[in-house]
């Protein structure tokens, strides 16, 4: 089949729109988020998620979260067979509401962090990590 110039342009525009669709989160991840927030509204910003843009080895991907004023932070890998990574609950002697760890990623995907603030509001941040070798042994 042949493409006219108009078709090609329309296809390109569609592809661009598709790739910019924000937060294509899997159903399991959606459920985990709903369980954490109780369906409350989640605002952008107020939380920093630091993850590499490209991870060569999906078995150990360094990640850190930081949300001042947070009570707890939920970390999700939306493209993993089980999206949960960790939940950090900060106690009264926490020096800051930040933590670093290392996680496994099955492939290129969005990593999402959601913070529950002391005033009951929620904040989220997301970051796309490209994974060269997946970390789930499949």
């Amino acid at each position: 089949m042949t493409f006219s110039r108009r078709d090609t342009l329309a296809l390109g525009a569609g592809a661009v729109a598709f790739s910019f669709m924000p937060f294509q989160v899997s159903a399991a991840a959606d459920e985990a988020i709903a369980a954490f927030t109780g369906g409350a509204e989640v605002a952008e910003g107020g939380i920093t998620l630091t993850a590499p843009e490209i991870a060569e080895n999906g078995n150990t991907v360094p990640v850190s979260v930081d949300a001042s004023g947070a009570m707890s932070i939920l970390l999700l890998a939306t493209g993993n067979p089980t999206p949960g990574v960790a939940t950090f609950n900060f106690g009264e002697l926490a020096g800051s509401q930040s933590a670093s760890t290392r996680m496994r990623l099955a492939g290129t995907q969005d990593v999402v962090a959601i913070a529950k603030m002391a005033d009951g509001s929620f904040a989220r941040a997301a970051s796309t990590v490209k994974v060269t070798i997946g970390g789930c042994g499949g």
Binding site: T60, T82, F88, N89, L93, G95, G138
Partner: protein
């Protein structure tokens, strides 16, 4: 439980009262995710550390719920306030019921 589980903690020996200190912890553990298949083609059952806590003189610093996506040899870095001299107590809870702990004392000075 799994052999050779050894907790390691890096914490300062001294701090000024009210200081914020950085703590680094690592425990050797294979963190079998339950997703991998063994040589016989069957899934290897999940065996991970599912909870990690840090307390200072009985007051909570951090309480982490770990899932299968945490890497082998789980590592955590976080910050704690030291209001007085005392002990940090780090505890790891294994899927099989084992509990590993480590204590680090901090002096004021």
């Amino acid at each position: 439980m799994a052999d050779g589980v050894k907790p390691r903690v890096k914490a300062p020996k001294k701090a000024a009262a009210g200081d914020v200190v950085t703590l680094k912890t690592l425990i050797s553990h294979k963190m079998e995710s339950g997703q991998r298949k063994g040589s016989d083609g069957n899934l290897i059952p999940r065996s991970i550390i599912n909870r990690f806590t840090c307390e200072f003189n009985g007051k909570s610093v951090i309480d982490v719920t770990l899932e299968a996506a945490i890497s082998t040899n789980p590592y955590f870095e976080f910050e704690a306030t030291v209001p007085e001299a005392g002990d940090f107590k780090f505890t790891w809870y294994d899927d099989d019921g084992s509990v590993y702990d480590e204590t680090k004392s901090v002096a004021i000075g």
